[in-house]
Symmetry: none
Amino acid sequence: MERTKRPVPTSVKDTQLIEKRRAEMIRGSVQLFKQKGFHRTTTREIAKAAGFSIGTLYEYIRTKEDVLYLVCDSIYDQVKSRIEQMDLEQGTLENLKLGISHFFYVIDEMQDEVQVLYQEVKSLSKDVLPYVLEKEEEMTAMVEKLIQRCVDNGVLDMDKDHVRMLAQNIFVLGQMWGFRRWMLQENFTLEEYINLQIDLLFEGVKGYEKKAALK
Amino acid sequence: MERTKRPVPTSVKDTQLIEKRRAEMIRGSVQLFKQKGFHRTTTREIAKAAGFSIGTLYEYIRTKEDVLYLVCDSIYDQVKSRIEQMDLEQGTLENLKLGISHFFYVIDEMQDEVQVLYQEVKSLSKDVLPYVLEKEEEMTAMVEKLIQRCVDNGVLDMDKDHVRMLAQNIFVLGQMWGFRRWMLQENFTLEEYINLQIDLLFEGVKGYEKKAALK
Amino acid sequence: MERTKRPVPTSVKDTQLIEKRRAEMIRGSVQLFKQKGFHRTTTREIAKAAGFSIGTLYEYIRTKEDVLYLVCDSIYDQVKSRIEQMDLEQGTLENLKLGISHFFYVIDEMQDEVQVLYQEVKSLSKDVLPYVLEKEEEMTAMVEKLIQRCVDNGVLDMDKDHVRMLAQNIFVLGQMWGFRRWMLQENFTLEEYINLQIDLLFEGVKGYEKKAALK
Amino acid sequence: MERTKRPVPTSVKDTQLIEKRRAEMIRGSVQLFKQKGFHRTTTREIAKAAGFSIGTLYEYIRTKEDVLYLVCDSIYDQVKSRIEQMDLEQGTLENLKLGISHFFYVIDEMQDEVQVLYQEVKSLSKDVLPYVLEKEEEMTAMVEKLIQRCVDNGVLDMDKDHVRMLAQNIFVLGQMWGFRRWMLQENFTLEEYINLQIDLLFEGVKGYEKKAALK
DNA sequence: TATGAATGAGTGTTCATTCAT
DNA sequence: GATGAATGAACACTCATTCAT
């Protein structure tokens, strides 16, 4: 489950410096990409936002696309490390709820980054896409594990397919909070959103069947 | 609830011709946008794909962005008209399932278009965005109506918020089939996907609680 | 003995216009290349010298190197057509002298062009070089034919190798007038140069052996 | 007739070190220039080929052009010292032939260097050109001396102009072996080339006149 | 109405040169 | 003396848009 990186060649040798400069670069780029998208952002703007010259920028990357890759890669790592902090020892339903809730909080905190990730991944060329998709898979795998624990614990009775699909749903519903913010965040607070989603996720439509009618 | 259009000015008067030319334009553009995205597609390519010259193209639009708007608008209309065909007279759970299923089928059939819509909407400038978002809202409203009918019919006991959120979930889960195809369409057929989603949507996590434990 | 052309793709369709614009382009480029060489000349300078914008320039070529190819190709054609005018009916030594003399005159008249050809051919990439070298071979073949006629006529008794080498020598000695002008054109007029070269070429070193010593 | 050098300023004082570093620099540059030409070679590549850093490179030169000058200068010196080794004491025709032959051998041995010299001299700026042309003149002067000796010895009866021109011809015919290698070295060995050229040079066209015709 | 040649601002990228360490 | 990170002017090339025919 080791993270795979596509190395982005540099002219600079000092690895510490590379780390530092790239962090500056990424920070600036996220802001720009969020505002104008990758394609409408120029390399000069990236360099400026990062605080160095265009020449220096190109000491740390080879092409503009490298910036996008670096940005995506970094965001994934951040999100992942944030999610990893959550404790999912016991596989109880209550714990599952907490996990989902935590996941939604993380997404909310990193909304800008997630938005960028979400909107620009497809601008990556075919040869870096695999690296990025692998990351996505890792992340859904984390949600999957959360559910699987409940199954293993004997709390849930779900087959592998249902588990996988549920994990994906939770994942996408999390992102939805970010990419449909124009619709959601006007009408709901984060807490409301989380409660609503957990309700729907746990109860299912059937949970809302009118009992009165059954009598 | 009439559809609102942002008028795209033309130098040409003959409305029939406009209709025809734009249809050619849109058809060609969808293919191109799917392959290379809006930004990497040139106006020359659009003109060529549409079957006329660059000069003629600009007789029917003002800017490149107009093409994108026209494309998005057209796709919405198509999807909408496809969905409208479904009969949702009776508000039963069975009928709701059928409706969802039908919606997923539509998304699948128009996968290319939905993908384009989905990936390029954000490239629209701030001033056309409202028009497009309105369309989105119309579409989720259709799913909403499907559910609301069950509520009105006394089959479901859901408040407005839950209904809205559920509608959005279904909508996004539909799109998910398209935009996560790299992950989903390798592992599931459309039928499997639909069944799985309807299962999860209707049963909820609780539906999978181990009954044995209840003894 | 048909001339082979490497086609240089255009966005423009009107072949007459292509011909015209390229002629303008070539004329301007020769001046620039002579002054500063191919590498130090910018595409903008080429466009300006040709009398149109940078955008228009690129309607008629794909890369900067295309300009160089077009220039070289055109110069070859000009030189060749100039040489072809000379009448080399009879294969006499007198006629050979006239031919050589004529060749030198042509080189002198097209000095600028020849100089450019001579200095910049090697800047062409490997894939166009064959086209250009073929042209060179055609031209030496013309000089060769001039000599061969004398052999065929029974005036000279030379084998193929000697004929070929002599042709090459004459060819290079012609170019020499152009590329060593800094040394030659200070000390000799064209007529002097021609006379001197014809002397040396026809007499050979042995022709200058001291007769007195032979007595 | 002392060699004139254009001094290339240095930040380094230690003359031994300068000598050593520059030798490394020149060796590496010749290879690079031969492969890609002066303009397509970067200073970084030169530094790397020389075995030190870009910073160090600039301790020993001021501009990239200095490298070219140093390279050309060095090649001239080498060629010259190689030619000077030949013994041309006696001014006989046999000795002249030997001299020419030796000269051609030297050119052949130093083909790469000569090629570079030949192709890149024109890239030197106007202010160093005189230094380089002076070198060229020195070299033709050496060939000239070889011929002049025969004249002085009473073996040849040639005026100054003929001597100079003949020297230039021999010089250029030597270079021709290098710069027209694509045509010559496919068809002739060096020995064949030398024999052919000496034949033509000594006999002249008249030497091949058909004697039968004289009857 | 239709065409396609013309335009030039704008883009990604390179590379000779400098200078703090 | 040696290093290599930083710089930014300069370059080749693109492409949305216009307009004369």
